[in-house]
């Protein structure tokens, strides 16, 4: 069933060729029949000008068979050896042809109105980052608004239906609220240009890649909008949170992601904004704390050393949190307590307030020095 409307085909590139409006990237690995969850929901969208990029990340035969059973000209399959979710999404980004790009994991889904509701906002305010609220399908069968609905409600109130634009009043607050949102890969649409120049992608080979990508996307966005209509359902599967010895160490990846994110965020102007910084640190603390609490006990002491090392190596500004942030930040108070406990650990040496990338900034002082 294809309901491609002529009027959607307004996107025309310089050569006069039609540009697909939205690309949705879905990596698959060992989901088996669950892959149908995402594909069926994407093909049932009431907005048809889309491209579906499936990235076969070393999938097993069952899952590959499911993927290949779909016959739709909008669907393309890329294949890589098992190189991880991040690399698979990056491969999708590199191959995407749509003006906007989004991601959906193989066993999640989108409601049929997700793209048409988004498209109205894309047409209206031309944002380069659009966020959707979402739903959560628990493994018990319970259906709920996604965890971050209160934050997004606050953001909706803040935006008042408009697109927040860099340089305009209220933009930093919009960024801070967006940073507080759950870093879900399915919850945003990005203009493809934003991913190209300079390149933005997922950190290869690491879990918790969503946080890294989400925070940098928000920090780099020029125009942020929120779609009032939920755009994805995240499915918690039975056993997906289970701890096994091998998965245990994967939680250490949050340290790498934190280190990468803080280093790169420090180079952006948002790092000078106390509210943005606080929102970033709180969503980071939330995830790190969750990881620490999920770790098996023998690994916890090392994890704490790693967390301290991340703070020790980070720009000292990240140790200063906004003293009185807006009330919505109160939802994160337990994470803030955890973070402040970490910051007051005796092993963490007090930091001098000189950014550690001062050397990189020097050439600006003596422009002629770069011979």
């Amino acid at each position: 069933m294809r309901r491609r409307r002529r009027s959607d085909a307004a996107g025309i590139d310089r050569t006069g060729a039609h540009v697909t409006r939205i690309t949705c990237i879905t990596p698959f690995h060992r989901e088996g029949r669950l892959l149908r969850t995402s594909l069926d929901s994407l093909l049932a969208q009431d907005f048809g000008d889309i491209e579906l990029l499936l990235v076969d990340d070393g999938a097993d035969l069952d899952t590959r068979t499911v993927a290949e059973s779909y016959r739709d000209p909008r669907l393309r399959i890329l294949r890589q050896a098992n190189d991880g979710l991040s690399a698979a999404r990056n491969r999708g980004i590199a191959a995407a042809r749509g003006a906007y790009v989004c991601f959906l994991d193989a066993d999640d889904s989108r409601p049929p109105w997700a793209f048409s509701a988004a498209e109205r906002l894309l047409r209206g305010g031309a944002p380069d980052l659009l966020l959707w609220p979402g739903h959560l399908a628990e493994d018990t069968g319970q259906l709920l608004p996604f965890y971050d609905r209160p934050v997004l409600d606050t953001l909706e109130g803040h935006l008042g239906g408009e697109t927040a634009t860099r340089g305009q009043p209220g933009f930093r607050q919009a960024q801070a609220l967006a940073l507080l949102a759950e870093p879900q890969s399915a919850n945003k649409l990005l203009h493809r240009k934003m991913l190209r120049d300079p390149p933005l992608g997922f950190p290869p080979g690491q879990f918790f890649e969503d946080l890294y990508f989400h925070a940098l996307a928000v920090a780099r966005a020029e125009r942020i909008a929120l779609c009032p209509h939920p755009g994805f359902t995240y499915h918690r599967r039975p056993g997906s949170g289970q701890l096994t010895a091998a998965r245990d160490l994967l939680r250490f990846d949050i340290l790498a992601v934190a280190r990468l994110l803080l280093t790169r965020f420090a180079a952006l102007p948002e790092a000078d904004d106390a509210l943005c910084r606080t929102a970033l640190m709180l969503s980071l603390a939330k995830l790190m704390r969750w990881c620490e609490e999920m770790l098996s006990h023998p690994h916890r002491a090392q994890f704490r050393i790693g967390a301290l090392a991340v703070l020790a190596l980070a720009d000292p500004r990240f140790r200063r949190l906004a003293p009185r942030p807006p009330p919505i930040f109160g939802h994160f108070d337990t994470h803030r307590d955890w973070l402040e406990g970490l910051l007051s650990d005796a092993r963490l040496r007090p930091a001098k307030e000189t950014p550690h990338d001062i050397v990189a900034r020097l050439p600006r002082l003596w422009p002629g020095r770069r011979a």
């Binding site: 890589q80 120049d197 933005l200 950190p203 290869p204 280093t263 790693g306 301290l308 963490l348």
Partner: protein
């Protein structure tokens, strides 16, 4: 009356008359225990069948075998008079005459009935019909003999092969239709592994060493797939592929992966090899050398894999010869020699002196010499993954892949991880991979891609921690020589970021392994800025102690895409 010596095999103790030669007696015991019994313990022999014991001696194999497998008929062939007499006596005493027959017969290529055979002076067990090349000649002796074809005509289900010097000729006479079970030993000349295949189970140790010719049908296809990652290689691909095919047996295939070439490489290849049954062209969207090599592997069904670069060549028979030692040793990987060359006006010019492996002890393997390389030497050496043959099941079991997202130097991590896990690497250097050096090579571009090396060493660090590597020193040594080499070729404006990233990763390595790892480090190969960055990181981390958690830390300078983005934003 003296009691007869007892031989223990196949679940029973059997008293046998011998020739009185104590060496033969002990040798028979050893072969029963170390060769025949382990194989028969494993093989699913049918209830009935016909076994031929070639070189039966006094019956040390044949008679316990006949007792253990009462549905089988056994034919014993033995030319020596004394052993034959003892064999006859043993059959009669054990009352096996109904199922076990004995014939006084040798199987020797070129044998002409009763014409005398020549017995080697140096190695008296070696007989020949008329071949004059036995060292030192020998004594002529009239022994009854038939050529291998006579053996083939008897169509045994199991062959126990003790025929010193003639193993290859006898296997070749079967012309691919071997008995279903083949047991025995090879002495001076290991039979080519292609002679054993199909549905035959083979266990044929070589000269008392742990090496053996062995097949266990039912797994992957017995063969070697040579994967060529081809990207815009129209100028070299034909030479590359034909050099691999030169002297290649039928079980070798070349899988050419066209990684989205835009220069017509694929049609060049089709022009030359369209009808060649051993050449397969696989086409995919461009994704980099690593993804192309993985693509080839994903489309391979062979037991062994090799990876050749599209601008290189091999000497005739290179891969088959390396495959021989891979198969005989059964090791995860095996290695051949290599020779770098440059294109000169009149053909290839040798470019660099070959590596020195003279300190490794050698031993003969047929006409070749082989030696074993300990893994630290592989890990600290230049990446030369293309001159090796890998067991596919080893790569799968260890989950060793080329990282798809890495667009250069992907063979470095492959060498480090395969090297460590392979342990001891059997090698020969009488055949060579020909490695072309030219200015256009990826590894000589001096751009941001050097940082892929950093990302890969970080992956190896994390892997070493989770897999509990016994020693990280060789990886550190390799790290510093790679840093020095990359830094020397790097564009000036990239050197600052490179040294900073290198120092960051080195700090993590030190924190994981402790200060003991310093002995393997060579910071003197790098500019002083490296030590300064490392010292600064150490100051920042002071008080936190060492720990494996540092294997999980990271930095943007270890990732090419992040580095590019940061540099673009800084500019």
């Amino acid at each position: 009356m003296t009691s007869l010596p007892v031989f223990r095999a196949f679940g029973r103790d059997v008293a046998l008359e011998t020739t009185g030669d104590s060496f033969l007696e002990e040798d028979s015991r050893w072969r029963l225990r170390d060769i025949y019994e382990p194989a028969l313990a494993l093989w699913p022999l049918p209830a009935t069948g016909h076994a031929i014991d070639l070189g039966a001696g006094f019956g040390a194999f044949a008679l316990p075998f006949a007792l253990a497998f009462p549905g089988w008929r056994v034919t014993c062939l033995e030319p020596e008079a004394a052993a034959f007499a003892a064999l006859r006596a043993n059959i009669e005493r054990l009352d096996l005459g109904a199922r076990v027959s004995a014939e006084r017969l040798a199987v020797v290529p070129g044998a002409r009935g009763a014409a005398p055979l020549i017995r080697s002076r140096k190695r008296p067990a070696f007989l020949s019909a008329d071949i004059p090349h036995w060292q030192g000649g020998g004594l002529a002796e009239a022994l009854p003999a038939v050529p291998p074809e006579a053996l083939v005509a008897r169509a045994p289900d199991l062959l126990k092969l003790t025929a010193p010097g003639h193993e290859s000729a006898i296997l070749a006479a079967f012309d691919g239709a071997l008995p279903r079970f083949l047991l025995g030993e090879a002495w001076t000349d290991p039979p080519r592994s292609q002679l054993a295949g199909g549905d035959t189970r083979v266990h044929l140790p070589f000269a008392g060493s742990p090496w053996r010719l062995q097949t266990a049908p039912g797994g992957r296809r017995r063969g070697l797939d040579v994967v060529v990652a081809m990207y815009n290689s129209a100028a070299t691909i034909a030479d590359c592929v034909s050099s691999v095919l030169d002297g290649a047996p039928a079980d070798l295939r070349v899988l050419v992966v066209d990684d989205g070439s835009t220069d017509g490489s694929a049609s060049t290849l089709r022009d030359s090899f369209a009808d060649h049954p051993q050449v397969h062209l696989l086409q995919k969207e461009n994704g980099g050398c690593a993804s192309a090599r993985n693509w080839g592997r994903m489309h391979s069904d062979a037991e062994h894999l090799a990876f050749i670069d599209a601008d290189d060549m091999v000497e005739p028979g290179f891969y088959p010869e390396v495959l021989e030692i891979a198969r005989y040793s059964g090791r995860p990987m095996a290695q051949g020699g290599f020779r770098p060359f440059r294109d000169g006006p009149d053909g290839p010019l040798p470019a660099a002196p070959p590596e020195d492996v003279s300190h490794l002890p050698r031993r003969p393997f047929g006409k070749a010499e082989v030696f074993d390389i300990p893994w630290p030497e592989v890990v600290t050496g230049q990446p030369t993954i293309w001159r090796r043959v890998y067991r596919r099941d080893f790569l799968d079991a260890r989950a060793i892949w080329f990282p798809d997202h890495i667009r250069a130097f992907d063979d470095q991590i492959f060498q480090l991880v395969t090297g460590y896990h392979a342990g001891l690497i059997p090698a020969r250097d009488d055949v060579h991979y020909l490695y072309r050096q030219h200015a256009g090579q990826d590894i000589r571009q001096g751009d941001e891609r050097a940082h892929y090396s950093l990302e890969m060493y970080r992956l190896v660090l994390r892997r070493a921690v989770t897999e509990g590597w016994s020693d990280f020193g060789p990886v550190v040594t390799s790290y510093f020589s790679t840093l020095a080499w990359s830094h020397a070729g790097l564009r000036d404006d990239l050197r600052g970021d490179f040294l900073r990233g290198a120092a960051e990763l080195w700090t993590y390595m030190r924190r994981v392994w402790g200060p003991g790892i310093d002995r393997a480090a060579r910071p003197d190969l790098l500019p002083e800025a490296f030590a300064r960055h490392a010292a600064q990181m150490e100051r920042q981390l002071a008080g936190l102690g060492d720990g494996y958690v540092f294997g999980w830390l990271d930095g943007p300078a270890l990732h090419v895409d992040m580095l590019r983005a940061d540099r673009r934003m800084r500019a």
